[in-house]
Every structure is written in structure tokens, then in C-alpha cells.
Assembly symmetry: C2
Homo-oligomer: 105 residues x 2
């Protein structure tokens, strides 16, 4: 479960702009702020099942975006190379550029 | 027009997976293979206006994805830093990593 939560959190980072406000709300509360389905359903005055279905559909959407755009996968690969560079480089001007690259991700 | 074509080509690179097959077909023929609206409409047996409307709607979609995900903008910024690094670095091991980063974009 923890591994799945980490993945969903990353996918949210990359694709949340493509979700509706309601989808974002539910996902943020459930995955980032650790609300339960019951708590979310009470707050929004909808059934627990409706919240659950919305979250499941959103997860499928996020995975579908990732299967098409691979932003998370590419990010991981880039982060790996950038980390390697950082360990190898001693030139402070280059280290500064490496920092710039890290901030762009 | 040339500048716009370049931009649309880049946006297609980043977001074409999010388009329908028909949208991709029209866009590729019009922007990559330089077919005219008339030629595309003849090949697909639809009106010239229908092709035009589809292409315009797709352009709007591409710009909307870019305004949300900024993949092209981030790519340009990364490419700039990577180019700078390449000019500064002389260590061949680091140059190899820079090449890896370029391939990941």
C-alpha cells in the first residue's frame, strides 16, 4: 500500500493539472492528507461508494496519462543520471548547472 | 507562419499521444507532411471546413495541454542548461552523462 501511495503521489505531481477540481480534491484529501473515504464522503455530502468510485477512476486516469506521456518514468531516469553526475563532478560551476537541472524537474 | 509551425511540431512531439487517431492523422499530414486542407479533405472524403475545424480544435487542445503541463517550456529550459554544461565540461565521463540526459528528452 505504501508503495502504491508513493506512486500515486508522484503521478499526482505530474498530472494533477489534467484532473477536474473535484478529482483533485478527493485525491489530495485521500492520498496527501490521509482522510478516510468515510470522512471525505461526510464532508462532501455524498456516499462513500461515490467517493471510492471517483478515486478509482482518477487512479486509472493517472495511470493512463503515465502510459502515454511517461513523465514519471522519464523523471526517474533523469534523476538517476543527474545524481550520478553530482557524485562525479567537483567543478563548482558545473555543480551549479546540475542544481538548475534538478530544479527544472 | 514558420514560427507557428515549429511550435506546433514541438507540441505534437510532446502531446500527440493524448490526441485521437483522426486528430493525429490530420495534424501529421498538415504540419509534418505539408498536405493542404483540400488534399486532406479529398483523401478522407470530408469537407475542407471539417478538416480545418478539426485542426484548429486540435491546436487549441495542444496549447491547453502545454498551459497545464509546460512540457515544451521545461524541455527548452533543460536543453539550455544542458548545452551550457556541454560547453563547459571537458571530462569525458561527464560528457557521456550529458548525452544520456539529452537522449531522455
Amino acid at each position: 500500500m505504501l508503495e502504491k501511495t508513493t506512486r500515486i503521489n508522484y503521478l499526482l505531481d505530474f498530472y494533477q493539472e489534467l484532473l477536474t477540481p473535484k478529482q483533485r480534491n478527493y485525491m489530495e484529501m485521500y492520498y496527501l492528507e490521509d482522510y478516510s473515504l468515510g470522512e471525505i464522503s461526510e464532508l462532501f455530502q455524498v456516499s462513500r461508494q461515490a467517493v471510492y468510485d471517483n478515486i478509482k477512476r482518477t487512479e486509472t486516469m493517472l495511470e493512463s496519462y503515465e502510459s502515454k506521456l511517461h513523465l514519471y518514468k522519464k523523471f526517474e531516469k533523469r534523476a538517476e543520471v543527474i545524481e550520478q553526475m553530482e557524485k562525479t563532478v567537483s567543478d563548482s560551476a558545473i555543480l551549479k548547472m546540475i542544481d538548475q537541472l534538478k530544479e527544472l524537474d
